[in-house]
Assembly symmetry: C2
């Protein structure tokens, strides 16, 4: 028997309870053990839930779960600090396995907790923390273990992908698409963590850690959300045979890594461009395996519960892998590679008057950035027209200097929209 304690009974927690109950025989067959829930806890005992808690022991204080006879504690509370932090710490210290869906906690404290888990000889597993039901953690940690991973990039936030898809498919502006996503339950009332890219940043930090053996770090990323994207950008992107996607993207090697979160132009020839609605996808490149793409539901109770239970099955089968695929003490502090470069899309809102293009082209020339395409189209609205420039491959540092200089031109009506074009 594997004794399981569960903290947090929201969308995911409720689905985990239902899954463990519904698939009892299946799981016994596949693990040779009974997976038994020996305790649960949540904020409000009286709340109506989708799962049946009859005969399940309710524990009032989450921290008490660490003191039960559970073999494994499932943490589904969320947040990088507070109760979630205290519970994971207490459970590991008590020699219990921990399974969590908490991306913020793993991104911030993952290596410390991994070291603690290794010290106590228990597992710390977090398949559900990134891309819901898609087995991206296991793939990086186990299936690609023979590869030097060269890059990992993904559509890791279903809310943003849903919004960008609605904007393109139906011509909505961001506000209307966000409102609709909120009405459908895809976006929170406070959407900042999603649309400002923070959620994607936490997930990318975890994937980078697994891919490159580096300590998860969100502070050394370029981070931008989707607030600046307008329908015009999606139309220009289409002209360039691309879709706009919010990507988390990391590449590098032992000498340094580059991590970026932000909207990108993804060519239609890339499978990532085809990922629409609330779906997630992750593309990994290894030196032997080449490109591997995983695609599926990145959120939602049942899909995420599937990932939580996959971790529980590993524990039940007695399988154990270091949380980040190698000993925590060997994880490197990531050094940031300075040599990032890309082709870029720049949309400027400019006054429709003589000399504008010359002034802008001059700024690019001064930074030795060459132009691959330039498109001006459409009528003046509110005193400006959109002007789009696509550059040849250029250093990121030079582009940042260009952005600063462009902002100082009096012909530029608002901050430019800048997006790298993924290869």
């Amino acid at each position: 028997m594997l004794k399981i304690a569960i903290a947090g009974l929201g969308n995911v927690g409720g689905s985990v309870v239902r899954l463990l109950q519904q698939q009892r025989d299946l799981l016994r067959n596949r693990t040779g053990k009974r997976l038994a829930i020996v305790g649960v806890t949540a904020l409000d005992k009286g709340k109506k839930r989708s799962c049946d808690l009859t005969d399940i022991n309710w524990v009032q204080n989450p921290l008490d779960l660490a003191a039960t006879d559970a073999d494994v504690v499932v943490e589904l509370i969320g947040g990088a600090s507070g109760v979630a932090y205290d519970l994971v710490k207490a459970a590991l210290e008590a020699g219990k396995h921990v399974v969590t869906a908490n991306k913020a906690l793993i991104a911030e404290h993952g290596v410390k907790f991994a070291a603690l888990a290794e010290d106590r000889g228990v597992s710390l597993m977090f398949e559900a923390a990134v891309a819901g039901g898609i087995p991206v953690i296991k793939t990086l940690r186990e299936s690609l273990a023979g590869n030097h991973v060269q890059s990992v990039q993904g559509i890791l936030n279903g809310t943003c992908n849903y919004i960008l898809s609605s904007m393109w498919d139906r011509g909505l502006d961001l506000e209307a698409a966000l409102k609709e996503a909120q009405d459908k339950g895809y976006a929170e009332a406070n959407p900042s963590a999603d649309i400002d890219g923070v959620d994607t940043a936490n997930k990318l930090a975890i994937l980078s850690a697994l891919a490159f053996g580096t300590v998860p770090n969100t502070s050394n990323m370029t981070l931008e959300g989707i607030r600046r994207i307008v329908p015009t950008d999606l139309a220009f992107a289409d002209d360039l045979k691309c879709r706009v996607k919010l990507l988390g993207s990391a590449h590098g090697d032992a000498s340094g890594i580059v991590q970026r979160v932000g909207p990108c132009l993804v060519p239609l020839s890339s499978p990532l461009s085809q990922v629409s609605g609330a779906m997630n996808a992750v593309m990994m490149r290894g030196d032997f395996v080449g490109d591997v793409l995983l695609y599926g539901q990145g959120a939602g109770g049942p899909a995420t519960a599937s990932a939580v239970v996959a971790d529980l099955v590993d524990v039940a089968r007695g399988n154990k892998t270091p949380p980040f695929g190698q000993s925590a003490e060997k994880m490197q502090k990531p050094s940031v590679k300075a040599s990032d470069s890309s082709r870029y899309y720049i949309r400027l809102q400019v006054a429709d008057q003589p000399g504008v293009v010359a002034a802008i082209a001059g700024v690019l020339r001064d930074e030795s950035i060459s132009i691959e395409a330039i498109i001006q189209r459409g009528n003046e609205v509110a005193g400006s027209v959109p002007l789009v420039i696509m550059t040849h491959r250029s250093p990121a540092v030079a582009i940042r200097r260009v952005m600063t200089k462009l902002l100082q031109l009096k012909e530029i009506a608002e901050p430019p929209c800048l997006m790298p074009i993924e290869e």
Copy 2:
């Protein structure tokens, strides 16, 4: 230290040796152990190879590998019988772990060998047997362990996908596309195992076994290759917003399964339709996780070696899962579900004369099959014109009766081309 013996040094075997040599430090970091090659064997010791065999112990008789002090034997010889069979049996009996890329062997003898492995307390692993570097075995066996899998379908043969892609992209006929695939090394001199669907059938049998807990079985499949596909079919498919793909496809539950290998019309809205060239992809549906798609290189030395080494890493880490995800003795004999149904594409070559459509429509009416669309187009060539019928959802048994009856009509110039339309 994990002591590894390797039998077979072709494309895959050579790449495994290279990978283990090149990534020695990486693998030691990730497993905490040295992965050491203690013996190799192949047909011809003198052959020039891409890997360096200096300082590696050559064993003349493959079966002797089972008697060395190796912890694990890697079987990369191939074939369901002969040396490969004897070596795997001997190695397991000697209490050694076995890693193999041999789909025919696993499809035919997998459960028997799994029982032997479980009895001896060792692993039998075969990630490389299906879809090269894509971790489809691990995903089904571990990541989807909490799901009742409802269906699995895939583009599992890169040769056929390359040929069908070339036929569509460049209007080649099958013969020209096959010739080109052979020149590029994607197809064997004798292409039958690929283009007649046998390779796909073996892989599908293995995926079905993992998905449904049934003994792998290729004899209860509908099996057809791509020989009957002509460029006209690809053009009609495009009219219907589909691509033609050779799919291995299985669905079902404990009460019975349906397994099909054959060319299908895949709607452009399905990610599988976008898989082009020699790439592979597998789509799995679980009752909790929903759809999960895995995509990548399904063949080639380095990608397949990545999968072999992933299995070796699991062995080195001390992780062990029953080969088919549950005890071999619990695997069920698959019963065939009779209730398969689909929409169908039927292309007939008919004489261009009065009464033809009436005769054909009468056959369909007599089997209560209703027509969703009918297209006749193009000029008579060699005494016939193509006539394409798309049916509404119809029982497979009724369609098979229709095919028999159509063949008896004197207006039909050659056997019809029949393809299900995937949803």
